[in-house]
């Protein structure tokens, strides 16, 4: 008997019945508090601003918000350098504001998950300060200290552009400390049981405030062991199982989403034991799928997608992939270095234009030359491929980016609400904005904003909302099996999602040219495909190949309803 079926305290009472598997059907929306809405005119988005916009997100059809780190931080790595796990970054608001956000979201039937960095802290964290000043004190062993920089030689350096070693010397303590990321982010020492306890305490703190789960940042690196590459160690999995058991025991409808930028066959380990239905993380991101979607459309060939899905192992019953087109990061090519197992991945990295396109930090619309047909095709794929979709804020209106801003800031500019000052994001002096709003002639806020698109029924925003609505009408998109279909045309990706009698057929033309396709649908002989957008019935499926024609970058979603009328003899 799985833990999820045990009697549990009801923690999600607000008009929505508790559903331990909600994340398998949910539409996620990644939001940067800093960039969403400024409520107090200081030029930086905040929690109260986000609360103001919950009705918009509800209207769009979002089920769950994913917040980037909102903890106290010196902000040397976008908040992924946490200096106090139990405080809110003052610019964003207070703990009271956060509780109200969770409450208001729950009232609307929406959930909230937040990023949590377990692997390391900021070097400003009191734990680290105590550790370096008092080696024999209670925090002396909270970090990984060594007299030399010789240990764990087989661990690669992840940020090769900025770091030369995983060890940095601390003159205060007179020892080296271990860090897998920036040198100002010392790794916590999980071999110390006190650290394991402290982190569980952090999790309980937020879960008790009502948060619906965490995206666990950089989980593969928690433990270190000499003679290994210090990634995906059994100890790391054991600790995740411990966290999961705690969540299941006290907070059964919450979700743990792993960020493990690894090959799918390694990532499945983070779901845990399939026999139990999964006893580590409920969800994990499917990283390789996204670049393959871009590659497939550029190649006008379904193979990049077909291959990666064929190579994706089955996941435990109660688990789900998180899939996305774009997010706050650039596309990390971490896995390319680990390419021996997979020649396709090497090939993908070889394609120079591909590298130029997705290696740089761009939003969806500019990546696709602002081509509405392609944006729609990509969104349709995101909403129909196996997994729960994660939208990135602003992509629903086709927001642009600013490549002149440094690092990853180009895709983190203020959300464009209205054609008014500062795009309706803030009423501050424009010079005070944390980042300038987009002002170019194509993506500028005067033309491209939520208000204008809400008024225009033909806008991308309305289209996206409608697609989300269709997806939510058919739980099969979240829960069903995925089977690729035989398609006579290599530019056409056709698949069927199936859950009992709920069956959806998706046909996607990856080419910019119109294409015919003959599908082998004998398995569904006698069914009538009904197109999901307009409800138009197509000719019934017979024994012969089913012919469809698609416009360039066109797609269809059909429900396959069994014909109730007597079949012809």
């Amino acid at each position: 008997m799985s833990a999820a079926s045990q009697p549990v305290p009801n923690t999600f009472t607000h008009e929505t019945p508790r559903d331990p598997f909600w994340y398998k059907r949910a539409v996620f929306y990644e939001v940067l508090i800093r960039g969403f809405k400024d409520s107090n005119g200081d030029g930086t988005g905040d929690i109260n601003g986000l609360i103001e916009k919950l009705d918009y997100l509800k209207w769009l059809g979002v089920d769950c918000l994913w917040l980037l780190p909102m903890y106290e931080s010196p902000l040397r790595d976008g908040g992924y350098d946490i200096s106090d796990y139990t405080k809110i970054l003052p610019e964003y608001g207070t703990l009271g504001d956060f509780i109200r956000l969770v409450d208001e979201a729950h009232k609307r039937g929406m959930r909230i998950i937040a990023d949590l960095v377990m692997n390391h802290t900021s070097d400003q964290h009191p734990w680290f300060q105590a550790s370096r000043h008092d080696p024999d004190g209670p925090y002396g062993d909270f970090y990984v200290w060594s007299d030399t920089d010789e240990k764990y030689k087989d661990a690669r350096i992840i940020f090769v552009d900025t770091e030369t070693s995983n060890w940095t010397y601390d003159p205060v303590r007179g020892q080296y400390y271990w860090h897998r990321f920036f040198h100002h982010q010392p790794d916590l020492n999980y071999n110390n049981p006190a650290v394991q306890e402290a982190m569980l305490e952090v999790l309980r703190f937020w879960l008790d405030l009502g948060i619906d789960g965490f995206r666990l940042d950089a989980v593969p690196y928690l433990f270190e062991k000499d003679g290994t590459n210090c990634e995906n160690l059994p100890e790391t999995h054991a600790y995740l199982k411990r966290i999961r058991a705690e969540v299941d025991r006290l907070y059964p409808d919450r979700v743990l989403l792993a960020e493990a930028n690894q090959w799918p066959s390694d990532v499945v380990e983070y779901f845990g034991d399939p026999v139990t239905g999964g006893d580590e993380c409920h969800m994990a991101f499917h990283f390789p799928l996204m670049p393959r979607i871009f590659m497939a459309v550029r190649r006008e060939s379904r193979y990049p997608i077909s291959e990666i899905l064929a190579q994706t192992p089955k996941i435990p019953e109660n688990c789900q992939w998180g899939i996305f087109l774009r997010n706050h990061d650039e596309l990390t090519l971490e896995m390319v270095t680990d390419e021996e197992r997979d020649y396709m991945y090497a090939e993908y990295a070889k394609d120079p234009r591909m590298r130029a396109n997705v290696g740089i930090r761009r939003r969806l619309a500019p990546l696709l030359d602002n081509d509405r047909n392609q944006i729609e095709l990509f969104t349709a794929l995101l909403l129909s491929l196996p997994g729960s979709p994660v939208l990135y804020y602003g992509d629903e209106i086709g927001m642009g980016d600013n490549i002149w801003l440094g690092d990853r800031d180009g895709v983190r500019t203020p959300m464009q609400w209205t054609p008014d000052r500062n795009a309706g994001f803030s009423d501050c002096d424009p010079g005070r904005l944390y980042l300038p709003v987009i002002m170019d002639p194509i993506y500028g806020y005067q033309a491209l904003n939520v208000e204008a698109q809400q008024k225009n029924p033909g806008s991308l925003l309305h289209w996206t909302r409608r697609m989300i609505e269709i997806r939510k009408r058919h739980p099969v998109f979240g829960l069903g099996d995925f089977t690729e279909l035989n398609s006579s045309n290599p530019s056409v990706l056709a698949f069927v999602r199936e859950l009992g009698n709920d069956r959806v057929l998706c046909v996607n033309n990856l080419s910019r040219f119109p294409q015919p396709v003959e599908l082998d649908l004998r398995r569904f002989e006698g069914s009538t495909p009904v197109e999901c957008m307009g409800g138009v019935p197509f000719p019934p499926i017979g024994e012969l190949p089913y012919l469809l024609t698609l416009p360039g970058h066109g797609f269809y979603w059909f429900t396959l309803t069994p014909t109730s009328a007597t079949e012809e003899s």
Binding site: V297, R298, R299, E300, S301, Y303, S306, E307, A310, Q311, Y343, E347, K350, D351, P352, R353, E484, L485, N486, S487, S488, N489, P490, S491, S511, R512, F513, D520, R522, R523, E543, L544, P545, S569
Partner: protein
């Protein structure tokens, strides 16, 4: 009654796509073998027919369905009276699957399953459309069973090669599952061969054309090289080259090999020259372009080392390879249907296949130019695509262990010209508007 069936068949068989003797009067049809596979209504009989035409006598295989009443869905396969072509009747073809699964002997017919596999029965079949010389039945999404129509006594080379490569664990063939056979003139003769159906694969030709079309879309942006265009196919060509070399190595290991000595190479050069001369007489457009060919044949005749020969595919082009989710898979090791079996099984240089594939790349690049309003603008794009993918294929072939340098390069060049000369003759006779495709092969190119 029997006479009536034979008359019906004589009227029907000439209209079938797979009938090889089209355009010549049928003097009569005889039934050489008639085995009942299923009694009752509907019933199934396995027939071997002898069709007499002006002194020739060819054998054909037919699954004869019998029903009191032919339902609408089978009208297209109606032969006459209560008879129809049962390949189209999923209710009856299930019998073949069961017989192979059981390894049954029914009269003189021997049904067999490949050792070590289990055949799933109860699947419904569908006839694949658009096939020239045989009829293929797809059972469910699992198997494809090729029914050889015109029968030549002997074991079909495809069965021989595919089963041998399967035993060696080759990833580049479709898993064989079963076959059935009969003795004709005392010779074990393959009647049908069943392999795994590659349900989510596409053939190389359609993949290549998607890439070419994409490149043509950039006709007015000549500054973007083919390598930077989204639909670039070179990585696939490269991988196909590797797969081709591996299949050749597997064939060399599984079957006897031999050598072709310099005097034989000289005779081969002479034969090629004779065909060139004949084609020059027949196709005036080729004149003035033959100098490069003669030069290539001269160098071929000068080869003074023996060449290794082995079993090869024999009819290798982009339409014969399928891209699955993981590999390129090679199909149709049958050789040229209609040719005598000894010829189809003869040892040859593997570069014959390489030359065939190189020509196929050229056809893929150029055949969309025919009657294209922007044909002249696109011509350099076609040349670019062809050169890029040919080079990638050859690089892959070398990487996979194939040899294309020194004497091999000379041989390959000569074989490629020979193939193009053949194409010139073929197109001039059958598709004059396509003649420009093979003619483009006779401008010197650097590779």
């Amino acid at each position: 009654m029997t006479t009536a069936l034979e008359d019906l068949l004589a009227g029907w068989i000439g209209r079938q796509r797979w009938f090889a003797g089209k355009g010549r009067a049928i003097d009569g049809v005889g039934i050489e073998s008639d085995v009942e596979l299923k009694s009752g209504d509907p019933g199934l009989r396995h027939l071997i027919l002898q069709v007499r035409q002006a002194g020739t006598r060819d054998r054909y295989q037919l699954l004869l369905g019998t029903r009191q009443e032919i339902p609408q869905r089978l009208q297209h396969a109606h032969i006459g009276g209560g008879y129809y072509d049962a390949a189209h009747d999923a209710e009856l073809t299930a019998v073949l699957l069961e017989a192979m699964a059981q390894g049954a002997d029914i009269g003189p017919l021997r049904f067999r399953a490949m050792e070590g596999v289990t055949i799933e029965t109860g699947l419904r079949s569908l006839v694949l459309g658009a096939e020239q010389s045989n009829t293929s039945l797809v059972f469910g999404e699992a198997y494809i069973c090729k029914l050889f129509r015109r029968l030549v006594p002997g074991i079909n080379p495809e069965v021989e090669i595919v089963t041998a490569l399967a035993r060696r664990g080759s990833p580049h063939i479709a898993q064989p599952y079963g076959w059935f056979a009969i003795d004709i003139d005392g010779v074990d003769t393959t009647l049908a061969f069943m392999q795994r159906y590659l349900s989510t694969a596409n053939d190389g030709w359609s993949l290549a054309l998607a890439s070419v079309r994409d490149l043509y879309g950039y006709a007015h942006q000549p500054e973007i090289p083919a390598s930077d265009v989204g639909g670039d196919f070179a990585a696939e060509s490269h991988r196909l080259g590797i797969a081709t070399a591996r299949v050749h190595r597997e064939l060399a290991a599984a079957f006897p090999t031999g050598t072709l000595d310099p005097p034989e190479i000289k005779r081969m050069a002479e034969r090629l020259r004779a065909r060139l001369d004949r084609t020059l007489l027949e196709v005036p457009q080729l004149r003035g372009r033959d100098e490069v060919v003669h030069a290539a044949y001269d160098r071929l005749a000068d080869i003074d080392h023996p060449i290794t020969v082995q079993r090869v595919h024999g009819d290798y082009h982009l339409g014969q390879v399928m891209r699955t989710h993981t590999e390129w898979v090679v199909l149709d090791f049958e050789g040229e249907p209609g040719q005598p079996l000894e010829e189809r099984r003869a040892l040859d240089t593997p570069l014959r296949d390489v030359a065939g594939m190189l020509r196929s790349f050229d056809y893929a690049a150029r055949h969309l130019l025919i009657n294209h309003p922007e044909g002249r603008i696109l011509e350099p794009r076609a040349a670019e695509w062809s050169a890029r993918n040919r080079a990638a294929f050859l690089a892959g072939y070398t990487e996979g262990g194939g040899r294309v340098h020194g004497d091999d390069a000379v041989l390959l060049r000569a074989l490629e010209y020979a193939k193009a000369v053949y194409e010139v003759g073929y197109e001039a006779r059958n598709r004059p508007t396509w003649l420009s495709i093979p003619l483009a092969a006779f401008t010197p190119r650097e590779e």
